[in-house]
């Protein structure tokens, strides 16, 4: 695949067009397959256009943080598998995969969607560790939204394994899974780029390469209204105040659409 010339993308956008014919505020098609990985407690394979990620949720028992002795622990990790792009390299996680993991982590953590208080086994000693591992298999842009949606779908469909206590130590029995992981809401990440004066939703890879600035916003529906729970700007140019405000409004709207897709998986 040849990266399209940045200038061409920018010209097209000026004329109100996108390379793949989408409207500026349109997402690419989303398809989700949950319970894709049977070795994981929860999993989802998600395609967003040609972008593809697999997320697995693995549970384990560990010690809580000293300042939250009766709460479970969330750990998000992202691997840019080197088959997902000719640019990805073997080696320790780089800047991009660290940002990806941290932005997805924040959308989930700050939304308070996981009922961490229900993940305590023995206060101060043993709590559930929720490992969310993101495997990026095909990078055609907007990994953040794809990964976040897959992660939330995997969490929302995850089943908790059982455990036994022997003396002082706990052992997880991965062969017996019963209850669902307790989830209180479904945070959704939505990403927009500015190219010139235009704001485009769900940037494809060539649009990310040509962009001026990127803004990712996490939203949640607390039953009463839609709220924001996280923001992350990217890109090496700025955004006007009005553009940020416009994106906030778009994030609310697009978040609703995507949340429906994830919700359908849960049910």
């Amino acid at each position: 695949m040849i990266e399209m010339d940045d200038l061409l993308i920018r010209k097209l956008v000026k004329r109100g067009k996108r390379l793949d014919g989408r409207n500026f505020d349109a997402y690419r098609e989303v398809s989700i397959e949950t319970n894709f990985i049977n070795s994981a407690e929860g999993s989802a394979r998600l395609r967003l256009g040609n972008t593809e990620v697999v997320v697995g949720v693995k549970m384990g028992i560990g010690t809580p943080y000293p300042d939250t002795p009766d709460e479970g622990v969330l750990v998000v990790n992202a691997e840019l598998v080197p088959l997902a792009s000719p640019e990805f390299e073997k080696g320790p996680p780089g800047e991009e995969s660290i940002e990806l993991a941290r932005v997805v982590d924040r959308a989930i953590r700050e939304s308070k969607c996981i009922a961490f208080d229900k993940l305590c086994i023995e206060p101060g000693k043993a709590v559930w560790m929720v490992n969310v591992d993101i495997d990026v298999l095909d990078d055609d842009g907007n990994l953040i939204d794809a990964s976040c949606m897959a992660a939330v779908a995997a969490l929302a469909t995850a089943k908790m394994p059982e455990y036994e206590k022997n003396d002082d130590s706990y052992k997880v029995n991965f062969d017996k899974k019963s209850e669902s992981l307790p989830m209180k809401c479904l945070p959704i990440s939505t990403t927009f780029v500015r190219i010139g004066d235009a704001i485009l939703a769900d940037p494809a890879l060539d649009e990310l390469n040509a962009m001026d600035a990127r803004l990712t916003i996490g939203t949640l529906d607390d039953g009463k209204e839609i709220k924001l729970c996280s923001m992350q700007k990217g890109g090496s140019n700025g955004l006007a105040v009005g553009q940020v405000e416009q994106i906030i409004d778009l994030a609310i709207e697009k978040g609703k659409e995507l949340r429906k897709i994830v919700k359908a998986e849960k049910e």
């Binding site: 695949m1 990985i37 070795s39 593809e52 697995g56 693995k58 691997e79 598998v81 495997d135 991965f174």
Partner: protein
């Protein structure tokens, strides 16, 4: 006392002794990789992606007379019951190494001097025979990428459980598995390109297991040729794949 999992004339999952788990394979599953494929032995699932022949970086690793083959065998953290730590382990380093040796003989490296052919294998679900599964995925991905090959390499394992010599040990058989022997086979040249074994056997049994594994390889070879024929008619006519 645990009950034996391999009973007299059938296996726990109902397979015959010389039967592999259901095989599934699909090439061309990814968009960014030049070639890609998925391969499954039952619930063991690997995907492979190929880039190259392309420029070698760092340059001092290139070879003047041929392409170099690089292989990277990886396990997704969620592919095992206990989460596995991401990043290379001593085990994955060794498997990358034997995977390279298994595949290299069929690749026409001499046609692409000063380049590298990079193969990445990602195991998404691990239920025994992950290296065999990865090799099969890698070979399909190489074909999908149009990398010239003299033949397909195919891989399958056999072993001994509870006194019986069986093909493609998996699932509950694996935990009490006495002997496991993964094999890769270069059919046109009738050469073994991967051979490893763990566990105690007599010389005669070792030979018997090897022959059974090769029987498995030959079957997979037919399946893989079939699948490529249906998808890669044009490449086929050029004679390389």
């Amino acid at each position: 006392m645990k009950e034996s999992k391999v009973k007299d004339e059938k296996r726990v999952d109902g397979r015959d002794f010389d039967e592999t788990r259901p095989i599934e394979a699909k090439a061309g599953i990814l968009h960014r990789a030049q070639g890609s494929a998925m391969f499954k032995f039952g619930s063991t699932m690997a995907i492979a992606g190929v880039f190259g022949p392309r420029k070698v970086f760092p340059k001092h690793k290139e070879k003047a007379e041929r392409a170099i083959l690089r292989t990277d065998y990886r396990m997704a953290p969620f592919s095992t019951k206990e989460r596995s730590r991401p990043g290379p382990s001593r085990r994955s380093t060794e498997i990358s190494f034997v995977t390279r040796n298994a595949i290299l003989p069929v690749i026409v490296t001499e046609d692409f001097p000063k380049t590298s052919i990079d193969v990445v294998v990602e195991v998404l679900q691990a239920d025994a025979s992950t290296r065999c599964c990865g090799i099969n995925a890698a070979v399909l991905a190489l074909a999908d990428a149009g990398v010239p090959m003299r033949d397909l390499v195919v891989s399958c394992s056999a072993g001994k459980v509870n006194g019986k010599i069986i093909l493609d040990i998996a699932g509950e058989e694996d935990t009490e598995g006495e002997v496991d022997m993964p094999v890769a086979w270069y059919p046109k040249r009738k050469e073994i390109t991967l051979l490893q074994m763990d566990g105690i056997v007599t010389p005669g049994e070792a030979k018997e297991i090897l022959h059974l594994a090769l029987k498995g390889c030959e079957r997979i070879y037919k399946d893989m040729q079939e699948s490529l024929r249906s998808k890669y008619t044009i490449e086929e006519s050029k004679g390389d794949v």
